[in-house]
Amino acid sequence: MGFISQHPVLVAAVVKVAVLLFIVMTGLAYLTWLERKVIAHIQSRWGPYNVGAHGLLQPLADGLKFLFKEDVMPPIADRLIYTLAPFLALSLGLTAIALIPFGPPERLFLGQPIFVVSDINLGLLFVFAITSMGVYGVALAGWSSNSKYALLGGLRSSAQMISYEVSLTISVVGVLLLAGSLDFNQLIEAQRGYFRYLPFIPRWNIVPQIIGFLCYLTAAIAETNRVPFDLPEAETELVAGFHTEYSAFKFAMFFMAEYANMITVSCLATILFLGGWLSPFPDTWTWQNYLPGAGLLLLAAYCAWNTVSEMRGFARLQFAVVTMLALGGGLVCLYPPVAVHIQGPFWFTAKILGILFFYIWMRATLPRFRYDQLMSFGWKLLLPVSIANLVVTAFVIVWPLLRHG
């Protein structure tokens, strides 16, 4: 007990990281399920259906499969770097998420802020520092495999990530100018309130910085190597790109790193452009505190109806369990102190899910760019537009000062 009372911040950080890791890993697994389901429904298919009701246990089965598969390493691979690369990719992807505030820092539990793991002054810069290291995982995987396809995939990926990182960073600077800070909490607080002449539209940065938002979203898709910018793993040209030679759990780690990066850029988009954990409704509308609980109760009702009338056998049992979980969770969320506390994370998660859905939608809709198109798009269109956005924003901010002072 002595250690805990002496270092409360340290112990709280370790506990929060452990909980966050569990939530993020589960989230990653179910993000793959969501992606397969959404794409399947867009393409008039059912998607995963057989492992668990509606394929709900599919991520678990996939994880077990990856664990038990044979881990093949090419004999001419550079053993050290070949092993290091997937660890690097996944650990960097997860570290970046630990810097994100999921709720207001003033919400305390046992005297410690519960929704913020690390409250640092330069949060945004540190996230960029960590994500800028992410290219090593891909590049080193491509090089160390000692295979032509993997090398070409790694080369393409490094070139692409360096090119789009420039636009990504510059498209964000407009938001920083508006808030005058690099601290996540201040960036979010600067978006509180409503526009003066349009009092029903929240003052989120997406309205004044719509060009910056579109540039950020495009560059972020390219940064995370997703369709339509998934050139590094273009299977018609490069087999599987940088992870051609990877198998078993090392492959799964690259897979998880990709989804972790998706979550990170969605979190950043939410914080910078969509008002972070702020609710779109005014604070006086207290009924919004009960939205998460009501949503869970609706889910419980839907699952209960399914359990009783639609499902048979094992699937019926699973739906009963899901019903119980949703019912219990919904009742806990309706308890007023809890309802007030989870407002921040609720809106934050809802916005992240919206962006992730957009990501998946893009993947199901758009064809892949050609490599030269990708490069000319990034350098000749995206970069000039984001620089123009930055210059115009700076000018608009400085103009009143010049006129009056």
């Binding site: 330069l122 810069l125 540190f126 520092a129 290219v135 590049a139 090089w143 490094s158 990182e165």
Partner: protein, 170 residues
């Protein structure tokens, strides 16, 4: 033991070890990765000195951009294992002792100069001068001309590299 001091020694050790591997490794990519390790360790040292902005920029610029380009070029050229020759006699008998002498001299100077003691006392404390707002104030007001001159210098270097690398029109 103070956690900041402990972190300092761990990172200092990592930086020195990375630098040694950088010189001794035969595979160019191992050298490049060792240099990345040195950069990261230095970034943590800046953090310990209370300069988080410098630390973040160190990682973004050096580890995240410059070294990525190094790795990229090594991969592109598919550079093989470097060749080793025997050490020359002069290097062995004069270079090694002289190198140690230089190292001792630097260590002695750092331990007794005002800069060295200021740095040593700064470990684990916050540094007012390295605050981001202060830093930008200095960079864009007090040192605006040298700052802009440096950027033009870098632009000239880029243009020079382009001219040198361009193929002659036949």
């Amino acid at each position: 033991m103070n956690i900041a001091i402990l972190m300092f020694f761990v990172c200092a050790l990592l930086a020195v070890a990375g630098a040694v591997v950088l010189i001794l490794a035969q595979e160019p990519i191992h050298s490049a990765l060792a240099l990345v390790l040195v950069m990261m360790a230095l970034a943590v040292l800046y953090l310990l000195l209370g300069a988080p902005f410098i630390a973040a920029v160190q990682v973004i610029v050096y580890a995240g951009a410059v070294m990525v380009l190094f790795v990229f070029v090594i991969m592109l050229l598919n550079a093989g294992v470097e060749e080793r020759t025997d050490f020359s006699k002069i290097a062995k008998f004069a270079g090694v002792p002289l190198g140690f002498l230089l190292l001792l001299e630097i260590a002695h100077w750092l331990a007794h100069s005002p800069i060295g003691t200021a740095i040593a006392n700064g470990v684990g404390s916050s540094n007012e001068a390295a605050d981001t707002a202060n830093l930008s104030e200095m960079l864009f007001r007090q040192y605006l001309f040298p700052f802009e001159a440096t950027s033009i210098l870098i632009l000239i270097a880029i243009l020079g590299a382009l001219v040198l690398a361009r193929k002659e029109p036949s």
